[in-house]
Symmetry: C2
């Protein structure tokens, strides 16, 4: 596959609550699903605390390495929402009250006859010159600086922002995949599967063990960016399962065989 | 609080399937819960692909920075299970078929009248001199090298290994916490809450917005390592909610008031 068809991404989930266990993250899996469908390879995820130095360091590591970085969390109106300041610091930009965001929010609170408090004004802060990510749920926008997309942590808002962001992105060749359920554990198939992987270098064959409390089985996933190698490898995997089943039947014939 | 009462940890979840969205991770939240209960601060989580260089780099970054590193995934018998080799490389150790693990596995497969295949033997591989983490579910042990604890990705096995590991760990002063439900959104409370946080520097006050599809409310979490500052800050937060409610009632009196 050519280098140019690959688009890479990382996610940075920000929030003490994810690390204390109080909140179980729902955004990582959601973004992973949508990026895979879009032909963007999510290569790394980090979860960090609400600490500026830590956020800045992680962001700088990720944004230099991947085509896109998506963040979640820390853009609300309270004192522990420090993502906008951290992103600004990472880019060496001033963090300002964005005039367009101030107008958007002021109008929304006016319509709702609510006070546009100092805390609420914090939600208009972003690195100078950032582009808005529209927020159809609760108005306060996310924002984009270069290849970094800053979104909310509340899942409904994160998901709405992701929906607005995806159409803007450059995407690569979609990764095609074929799932093949396998009734045998990894120990039964490991050697054969390694040989199949070696014979089909344009594919990536993943083996995901499952355990039902009694015995292991496996889900085998063949991935490729072209249909031909995908089908060739998948056929080899299916043949392996048939062969193993025949072998097991020969070794342990049923009583009436 | 004294430095010595803080014990820090990171988690490294390894596996392409977590990044493609095919598997939704359950181990991060589980470990986060148990570490918090034990008085160990989970400070960072990374999810990386099944790629040796990437695993080695992440592991070396995390093990030098935190007291403990816990990994999940990639220790099975198939070709995509490369965690043992990667951990060995990170420590500059040879990756060997551990004699005690070979014995354990050979006996288990003999008892079950199953062949101890070449693939299954891969599960005995670990960095030379590593200590086992017992696996009561499926025998193949996890392992420990210095401050790195290597465990399985299948949640039932991961959880059983964590149960075996936790009693070995040095723990810090437990973080105490008090959850206070707040019927107001972050925009209503942000300024007052920031003042309370400033007045109670020995606590960490987190604000977690909730959205029910109609309106925002907030869960406020006060955390501290000592009971006295915890109660003082929690009392101030409760007083803030009472005060806000009184103010709102005064502004919008009910018809019969």
């Amino acid at each position: 596959m050519s280098q140019s068809t690959t688009v890479t991404a990382a996610m940075l989930a920000i929030g003490d609550e994810l690390l204390s266990g109080r909140t179980k993250d729902k955004n990582i899996g959601h973004l992973a699903d949508l990026l895979t469908l879009s032909g963007i390879d999510l290569k790394e995820v980090r979860i960090v605390a609400d600490e500026e130095d830590v956020i800045v360091e992680a962001l700088n590591a990720l944004r230099s390495r991947y085509d896109y970085v998506f963040t979640s969390g820390g853009i609300g109106p309270t004192h522990d929402d420090i993502t906008a300041d951290s992103v600004a610091k990472a880019f060496g930009l001033p963090c300002v009250y964005d005039p367009a965001a101030m107008t958007l929010l002021a109008e929304m609170y006016k319509r709702r006859e609510m006070e546009f408090t100092e805390a609420r004004q914090r939600m208009a802060r972003m690195p100078q010159g950032a582009t808005h990510i529209p927020n159809p749920v609760s108005t306060a926008p996310g924002f984009i600086v270069e290849n970094v997309y800053v979104m909310a942590g509340v899942p409904q808002v994160f998901q709405a922002m992701v929906d607005n962001v995806l159409p803007m992105l450059r995407t690569g060749a979609k990764m095609l995949s074929r799932a093949i359920p396998c009734p045998y554990g990894e120990g039964d198939i490991g050697t054969l599967l390694a040989a199949i992987q070696k014979a089909h270098p344009d594919t990536s064959i993943g083996s995901y063990p499952k355990y039902d409390g009694q015995r292991f089985s496996t889900e085998l996933i063949v991935r490729a960016r072209e249909t031909e190698p995908l089908y060739a490898a998948a056929t080899a995997v299916e043949a392996m399962i048939v062969e193993l089943t025949a072998r097991k039947t020969a070794t342990n014939p049923s009583p009436d065989a």
